[in-house]
């Protein structure tokens, strides 16, 4: 299982803060699988403004995934 988290605008648009997914080879495949959940999901997952972090480190779509990983999707950060 892969734990998937959503934050800020993404969490609100998807009305989901977390879910579990079966294994995916990499972040790109996880995005594709999540996109199948509906139109809003597809729009959010394919957006350039949807960043990904794997195990709390920012990464790109080629990042490989394994069971037990935590993947977070969120918009560009605005702290400070």
């Amino acid at each position: 299982m892969i734990r998937v988290l959503f934050f800020a605008q993404l969490r609100e648009r998807l009305q989901t803060d977390s879910l579990d997914m079966t294994e995916c080879a990499n972040v790109a495949e996880l995005r594709r699988k999540l996109s199948e959940r509906g139109d809003i999901w597809q729009e959010v997952m394919q957006s350039e403004r949807c960043l990904a972090a794997v195990n709390q480190v920012l990464c790109d779509n080629t990042q490989a995934l394994k069971t037990g990983d935590e993947v977070a999707f969120f918009p560009p950060v605005t702290g400070g």
């Binding site: 950060v77 605005t78 400070g80």
Partner: protein, 158 residues
């Protein structure tokens, strides 16, 4: 609250912080450093044409602390630094409340000034915090600024 090593203190917290306490933590029993630079970020009343009444700060707890630690570690590779303290708050904040603190001590001011600005520039573009403003027009998420991204990118040229 967590301290990373003897000289780094990184905290992601909902409660306010006290500037005098933070300054003392940077200077007490520290006779080697001749410079202290501190920065405090506050909630301001006006942003992008809207009158702001409060700010809600969301964060990704596990990553927030880790990313701040990474940023501090990067600063240490660039400058010769003494003590570093970084505090970032989350939750609902009112106007003029303190959001973020960065304090750096060093033997010389150039290192302290540089590191303080670097940590803030990277914090603003790498640390997983998101601001939602409450204004006269309702609630809205703050958009990330290109100017902030540019400031962080500039450090890679230096």
């Amino acid at each position: 609250m967590k301290s990373n090593s003897v000289s780094d203190y990184i905290s992601v917290q909902s409660q306010d912080f006290d500037l005098k306490t933070e300054y003392q933590a940077l200077t007490e029993h520290n006779q080697t450093d001749g410079a202290v630079v501190t920065f405090v970020g506050l909630v301001r009343d006006f942003n992008e044409g809207k009158s702001v009444t409060a700010l809600h700060l969301e964060h990704y707890p596990a990553m927030a602390e880790r990313s701040l630690q990474d940023i501090v570690a990067q600063a240490r590779t660039r400058w010769s630094l003494g003590r570093i303290r970084v505090i970032h708050r989350f939750g609902t904040l009112s106007l003029s409340e303190q959001i973020v603190f960065v304090g750096v001590s060093a033997k010389h001011r150039g290192d302290a000034f540089g590191a303080c600005e670097f940590i803030m520039d990277f914090l603003k573009t790498r640390a997983p915090f998101w601001k939602k403003e409450q204004s006269s027009e309702g609630l809205h998420w703050v958009d990330a600024k290109q100017s902030d991204a540019n400031k962080a990118d500039d450090w890679n040229q230096k």
